[in-house]
Amino acid sequence: MIRPLARAIALAVASFVVAVAPTLAQDQKGTLVFAVESLGAQTLDPILEGRPGNAVYQAAMYDSLVGFDLKKGGVGPGVAERWELSADGMTWTFFIRPGQTFHNGDKLTAHDVKFSLERQMGPGSLAAAAATMRRTIKSIDVVDDLTVKVNTTSPQISLPAGLSRAVAPEGAIMPKNYIEKVGEEEFRKKPIGSGPWKFVRNVPGDRIEFTAVAKHWRGTPSFKDLHVLLVPEESTRVAMVRTGEAAIASIGPETMLSASRAGLEVLAVPGTMQAIFQFYGTWKPEMKDQPIAKARVRQALSLAIDRKQVIEHVMNGKARMPYPFATFVYTDYFSADRWEKWATEAYRYDPALAKKILAEEGYPNGFELKFANTALPGTQFMIDIGTAIADMWTKIGIKVTLKHYEWGSFPPMERGDQAPLIGWGSMYRTAGRPDATWRYNGAFSPDSTQRLLGDKDNCPETCQEFVKTYRALLAELDRTKRTALTDRMVELVNNTWTVVPILEGMGYYAINTKKVGQFDAITGRHELGDVFERIPRPEQKPWKK
């Protein structure tokens, strides 16, 4: 009796799927054309692409083990619906969302998850975190088709964040059976993922084409096709949106105003980055008599910056006052409200107080400051911000020697003895990520590249305190205590004024409202690779005038 009933139900469900799927597919019309300044390595193999490329175009066709919190920003469900940490903190268990399939029809299972993570850690991987994963992940066990356990060598509280596309690309899930069957070379030519867009064509240096799947848990695309075009020149991208050759184009803040005047909609994605300035080697004994070795002097430099002016004039009003270094409203284990209040007060513009502090510290007539101005590709506005703050410092008597560096030539100066940067200030930026600990580690740990508080041979009191707090944070399993430790780490760094946020920037896009309907991006997520499937056609959701 039960078996015929089950068969009837299965038949009904199958009939429904057969009836509905084509309807959904038929409702997908037109081509969504997106123009972007870089396609990274332009490869569809996740182990060969870095974070930006993964986020721009690979995200369209691959799902990530951990996804996004679409409302707040930061980490949320992905291929795994949920995840939990064992009592000893040494094992993460991920529970896979049932019913997922790859584009060739194969089921997505825990075996694919294990295979993908091991591939990211493998010898041919160019993944940024490959070495860290090899060191921290002891083994990966498939419990059943929908459950996978990741055993770590030490407590890794941040592991789910690290496997979320909100933070890094290493969580991309690839099809085990397909890759093993056709081999890596063939997979790179005809890649298959499980995302809402299927791969169609990759034209090097020009474009990548995708076509929509009929239904997807991330959102079923409204457009039939998606073309991601590589258009390096910003003026050309804007022209393409104006002529309708592209629906959406990435732009910088300097173009927002002209794009808006030309009748284009401008979308600003909040919390995608912080523009900061920082000082190198202030802790070194040979620096002790230098003005910037004093925290109060560095604080005075912050007080001399009129951030609202920078936001208004350099960023065309589309930026906001920052939280403390590398933190955002969506930062995990972080008292955002408390720090927002603190930042509003601490990052105020008070040139009179700045001058008073300088006088108290023995520099009533200012001092000479060498400042390296630099910007990552695609963030040329950083140069303008650096120039603006250098100009503001001159108003409190600082004689700034401004030197511009192309980004590729800047990182080598940070390594070794940092001789070219010791005693210098520099522009820098930090990307919007929900997990602040990694960024703090990269800037302040004695064995990090930047070593802004001290190095292994000379780690002063604040540096030691940072190390202690950071290590405690890594091992802390209790959520409340972890938040307290994050707050402590933030406070320690705040008090040094070694790294000072200038503003919280956004991601900017010019949009032709006749080509796409109104949509929201993901807070903190500059790229649109995880947004394309939720972009409606203009007739489905017209833009509000």
Binding site: A35, G40, A41, Q42, T43, L48, G50, R51, P123, G124, S125, L126, A128, A129, A130, A131, T132, R134, R135, A168, V203, P204, G205, D206, L229, L230, V231, P232, E233, S235, T236, A239, M240, R242, T243, E245, P377, W407, G408, S409, P411, P412, Y428, R429, T430, A431, R433, W438, R439, N441, G442, A443, D447, S448, T449
Partner: protein, 305 residues
């Protein structure tokens, strides 16, 4: 003639060796691709691992020896960023650039040569001055600015032409004008000075004394002889077009070797940069050799010298 060609080939090989050496070492002075591949919070451990994976961890002289050893066997390495053989990436994109260059050359010659003749015939007159203005503008106008201006006028405002990217014949108009404009100026100036020189020569005076029509004297006798130095410059102009394509292809999102060069520089993709510059050098050397041979045939004085 064979000795001439052999000598030029030998010179070409020496030049290529010098280019390869300079590009190899100069490229590495400008930074490391790993810095551009890793996020700002990457650990030194991750950085070291990536450097090893990419084979950039050995002493630079060892890397150079490997590069030279592979290069003599025709292997110019694998692109760091694209993980594709660098030479293959170059030849994938080369046809796209070669589709632009002949049209730009044609535009340069079709406008530049007649303008040069007209300027020479009206030396000192307003037509000469007008042609001179065209020449100055053509040389002085930055091609990225001209390209953006053309896009704004003809794509955005008038809507007559597509703004960028490869496609049908209409997609070629703006990039070809942008790429070819400086050639108009170049061809015009060289034609004008060559025409002025030829017009003063004895055989032209003889032609006029013989009673040939002015049209025949100018367009048949003068121009034919004036085109010899133009032919010499043709090789130089093709070289300029290949390097000038970097800007034009970037502005018009044209996936040619100019853009590939730009990307190789920006991402510090050493093997790709080496391959692109070596192969571009071979291309330019081959074109110049072809022009020299042609020149030697056209002008026997060169052959005899």
């Amino acid at each position: 003639m064979k000795r001439f060609i052999a000598r030029r080939l030998m010179q070409g090989v020496v030049l290529l060796c010098m280019v390869a050496t300079i590009v190899f070492f100069l490229g590495r002075l400008t930074g490391n691709p790993v810095d551009l591949m890793l996020p700002e919070d990457a650990t030194p451990e991750d950085r070291t691992a990536l450097i090893q994976t990419l084979g950039l961890d050995g002493p630079i002289l060892d890397q150079f020896a490997i590069f030279v050893g592979n290069a003599v066997h025709g292997d110019l390495g694998t692109s760091i960023r694209m993980r594709q053989p660098a030479a293959e990436a170059f030849f994938d994109r080369l046809p796209n650039t070669l589709m632009l260059i002949p049209w730009a050359l044609l535009l340069g010659m079709m406008l530049g040569i007649p303008l040069g003749v007209v300027a020479a015939l009206h030396r000192g007159g307003w037509l000469d001055r007008a042609a001179g203005t065209v020449a100055v503008l053509g040389v002085a106008m930055p091609s990225f600015w001209l390209g953006i201006l053309l896009i704004f006028v003809f794509s955005v405002e008038l809507g007559w032409l597509p703004s960028s990217r490869m496609g049908g014949p209409d997609h070629y108009v703006l990039p070809v004008i942008t790429l070819g404009t400086f050639l108009v100026a170049g061809f015009m100036r060289i034609t004008r000075s060559a025409m002025l020189e030829v017009m003063e020569s004895e055989f032209v005076k003889l032609a006029r004394i013989k009673g040939l029509s002015e049209t025949t004297v100018i367009w048949k006798h003068c121009l034919r002889n004036a085109l010899i130095p133009v032919l010499t410059l043709w090789g130089v102009f093709v070289g300029n077009l290949i390097t000038g394509a970097i800007v034009t292809e970037t502005v018009f999102a044209w996936p040619g070797i100019g853009r590939l060069t730009y990307e190789a520089v920006i991402y510090r993709d050493f093997p790709l940069l080496q391959a692109v510059i070596i192969l571009e050098s071979i291309l330019i050397l081959a074109i110049n050799l072809g022009v020299d041979i042609l020149y030697a045939y056209v002008d026997p004085r060169i052959r005899l010298a």
